[in-house]
Symmetry: C2
Subunit: 224 residues, 2 copies
Amino acid sequence: MTRLYHWSFDPAGRLVRLCLGEKGIAFESVDSAPWSPHPDVSRLAPGAVAPALVQEGPAGHIIAIGTRAICEYLEEATDGDHLLPLHPGDRAEARRLWAWVEAGFEQVTDNLLTERVMQWVRRDREPNSEKLRRGAHALRGRLTFLNAMVERNGFAAGRQLSLADLAAAAHLSAVDYFGDVEWRAVPDLKEWYARIKSRPSFRPLLADRLEAVRPSPHYANLDF
Amino acid sequence: MTRLYHWSFDPAGRLVRLCLGEKGIAFESVDSAPWSPHPDVSRLAPGAVAPALVQEGPAGHIIAIGTRAICEYLEEATDGDHLLPLHPGDRAEARRLWAWVEAGFEQVTDNLLTERVMQWVRRDREPNSEKLRRGAHALRGRLTFLNAMVERNGFAAGRQLSLADLAAAAHLSAVDYFGDVEWRAVPDLKEWYARIKSRPSFRPLLADRLEAVRPSPHYANLDF
């Protein structure tokens, strides 16, 4: 039994869902939004926040919290395709870019994505246009860098899909719901995203909906 | 041959040095400060910043950049004592707390440590007291949490030294140089730090000096 506490539009939860999907691991999904965490989560460990994975498996009762702990655990302890390359130097590059994505998208999440989501949570609230502007600016910088990496390598960190790609796609997919990604400016990255999007692991994310907020027209379109 | 590009008071570089020390790996140290990076570093990979490790070993020429890539590489590919526990659930908890330290100390580094260091780099500059105050407040929160973890577990993430401890000690040691850690408020953490500090891997850090800035009286004192 595998259970995942997460919120559908949280990029960290999205990365874990992609990772579970790529590994072919079925799981029970339990909603835990940042503004209203599931009460189980704080009981799992001091200071725990979603995404949190609980698994009863051959190694016993496993609790893994946060993208780093969960994805490394799934990579080490479960079967299925590798999401880190096998050569040590290539693994290091994949982990560098995975870490780069998580640190680099913080400004995008804290400003752009959070603002869009809070606008949905509290519908009477005016959006903070300064935050939206700052988040959009941060996003453009990340897109340019990722586009260059994908143009050079095929995937973010090499010729093979890795956790760096899934982390980037998790972040981009969340802001793409709101139409915030200017795909035309980054043609190589757009082509890469079309490839990632068409993977079976991506389907559940493309089916996510926020009540009363329509996704951007191309959100779930594989041929956008 | 192992070469590390780093800056002595950067907590990320300190974690890598501790990790190399615990693994018993000798290395050539090359200075690369955040405000004046070594020209080699940007040539290692697009967007690369210190700490960066270059190693010629049995697996060929390895480049690993950033704490996550470097420490996981050293853990996977080199001999020496393990810095992550062997049981999958314990590994997950160590990685959660390692990630917690790196994310949680960002505010401390960006405000308190950077302000102290910039004060040293540009000596004519007035310190920004608002930043110092904000950083000190963030540090107190982190100290309280770490103290509770250490009181409960012995080490940060369990009964065994792990990368979570080394990451926390790397951050605390840098701000401790400037006397910013109120050890009296966190007796269990103080006892833990005395244990970590007395490890041979810690000696090089305790010998670091900033020209014309004396360390706090207890900085290098094992029995403080």
